[in-house]
Amino acid sequence: MTQLQSPAEPGTASAAPSEVRPAEARSLLATAWLRIRRSKIALLSLCVVVAIMLFAILAPVLSAMSGNDPFTSNTSPEVLDDFETPGLPLPAYMYPSASHWLGVEPGLGRDLFARLAFGGQVSLTIALLSTAVSVVLGTVLGAAAGYFGGKTDAIISRLMDLFLAFPHLLLVLSLTPILQSRLRDTPLGQGSFLPMASLVIILGFFGWAYLARIVRGQVLSLREREFVEAARSFGSSHLSILFRQIIPNVMGVVLVYATMLIPTNISAEAALSFLGVGVKDPTPSWGQMLNAAQAGNWYLSDPWFLAVPGVMLIVTVLAFNLLGDAVRDALDPKASRH
């Protein structure tokens, strides 16, 4: 059995150009890592991603170091203008300073650095968890559709069509408030968990169909491969074949898709919170901060307030995108050769 598994050559790795290098049997991940290490851009984006993750994880520590927290407001006239443009931070507080590393927000005078860091926690958690939900759903459903075929396939495929045809944003717009009102009385719905849980569920639930379609295609061809046939002839159960033979062999594709889905979900969180249906004040997230910047046209008189979450968002999405490209190139040399 084990011997049958090991030559696993998941379609993607076999394409190493024979003129260049003898096809050595390196493991998928090792090859991938080697390739990533060779690309400066990939390494740089990996570093940025790690740094952003650390920034988010260490949010409580970092904001404590700066002496602020994301929720304490300060509307005293020494901080915020209270006459000409009421609520606009005075210049000393609008921009980075020793007491407020990124200045304070207009209106409530809360510390921007702390909100950015804690907002990162929220945004990234939502993006990562919803990606995980999509990936699990997509892989399992896609693999099941491809492997079992017949009615299972028909049902799952129709479901995929439905999900792909649905105008997501519109549906999510009407769905999120519903879900939030349902979740409010459950443990998931407490405090800042509420918007996070609802966004994770919704983004996760709407992201699986595309992956499922890809996985299904892969599994359709895998199903006829010798090692699956062999496992079948040894009398392995369907579930064991599915989870031990099939799914490990589509992990390459899944990994590529997952790394590309993360930045998509980061943007989606930002979009929904921006529209006011996602994360809501006082819980910070990068999308919520964008929403706050647009509210009352604050960004026109305090562009810095828009720049802080905006630049953070762009850098994060860019880093994840570049990393995603690198992972795809590494795992799928057919694409990378270009």
């Binding site: 045809a165 519109l170 009407s174 999308g287």
Partner: protein
């Protein structure tokens, strides 16, 4: 071919029914109650009940749904007993907010959405395919690297950030462009095509930056792949001019995935670019849908969701037909 179209129409119909039913059902569980929204601060239970009658919400759920769907087949009467009014086919109901025919609201919103979609589409297709092709032809050159880099940044620009940034810089700070006005929704209006272009330029750019970035990537990848195909080598071996090889043989074959993408994106965009319309206050379908969703205006939300799904599904069919036109191999099936 006829069978193909028939089959697709059949599945289109089923999908629409599914989409409408899901939307309708979801709405029943929504936190917003249109009836109690109708009377505000003096909503005694009796008044809410009257409002339910007025909005037709006193009927059982399934009756409401069937009534609604009936309007898609023929005209129907809407309203409280004694005060019914005719809703002409195709009847999408009447707005809970303004009692307007939803079909009128949609008809009013469509030109804005079209204006947004068309300009953005032209902009991003030209720039996306053009730059993608250029990068593919100059593969490995500094030009290629620059384009690929710009595309990577482009896909990473969230619409809210670009949109607000464009407004801030071009409108508010430097007054280079006018504030978007809702008076203009077609190039044939009294203000002329130029005013139309200026009015929609920023939303177009915001959309096009994002979209063209992914078109650049897809075009480039596919063109490089196609340029590596055997038939391109054959074409060169025949002694064809490079231009013929590139366009007649290369682009025609390499463009198919772009056509698919384009079709799907058009479908999506016709359903309303929710974010962009919101940021630039363009009262297209997306903008209207958001307003309706927030205020609990079920008929409007329903109709726009269905219309958006309809566009996506039709776009799918059109893409398939376009495929058949481009690729003779598909015609066989």
């Amino acid at each position: 071919m006829i069978r193909f179209i028939l089959r697709r129409t059949g599945s289109l119909f089923l999908l629409l029914v599914a989409v409408s039913f899901i939307t309708f059902t979801l709405f029943q569980f929504g936190p917003a109650d249109p009836a109690s929204a109708a009377c505000g601060q003096e909503c005694t239970p009796e008044r809410v009940q009257e409002a339910r009658v007025a909005l037709g919400m006193d009927q059982p759920f399934l009756v409401q749904y069937v009534d609604y769907m009936r309007g898609l087949i023929s005209s129907r009467m809407i309203g409280a007993p004694g005060a019914e009014s005719l809703c002409q086919w195709p009847c999408l109901g009447k707005s809970f907010q303004t009692n307007e025919n939803v079909s009128d609201i949609i008809a009013r919103s469509l030109p804005y959405t079209f204006s947004m979609a068309i300009g953005a589409l032209v902009l991003w297709t030209l720039s996306g395919v053009g730059l993608g092709l250029l990068a593919a032809l100059r593969k490995g050159s500094p030009t290629d690297k620059f384009i690929v880099g710009a595309a990577s940044v482009g896909v990473s620009l969230p619409i809210p950030v670009t949109g607000l940034f464009l407004l801030l810089v071009f409108v508010n700070q430097f007054h280079l462009l006018p504030f978007t006005t809702n008076e203009i929704n077609s190039p044939f209006g009294p203000q002329g095509p130029w005013a139309w272009v200026l009015n929609y330029l920023l939303p177009w750019i915001a959309l096009a930056v994002l979209f063209s970035a992914s078109y650049i990537r897809v075009t480039r990848t596919n063109m490089i792949e196609t340029f590596g195909e055997d038939f391109i080598r054959t074409a060169r071996a025949k002694g064809l001019a490079p231009r013929t090889v590139t366009f007649k043989h290369g682009v025609r074959a390499g463009i198919t995935p772009v056509v698919t993408m384009l079709g799907m994106d058009i479908g999506l965009l016709l359903g309303g670019a929710v974010l962009t319309e919101q940021i630039f206050s363009v009262p297209g379908l997306g903008f209207t849908a958001v307003r309706a969703a927030i205020s609990g205006d079920l008929p409007v939300t329903m109709a726009i969701t269905m219309l958006a799904a309809f566009f996506v599904i039709v776009a799918n069919v059109v893409v398939d037909l376009a495929y058949a036109a481009i690729d003779p191999r598909v015609r066989l099936q």
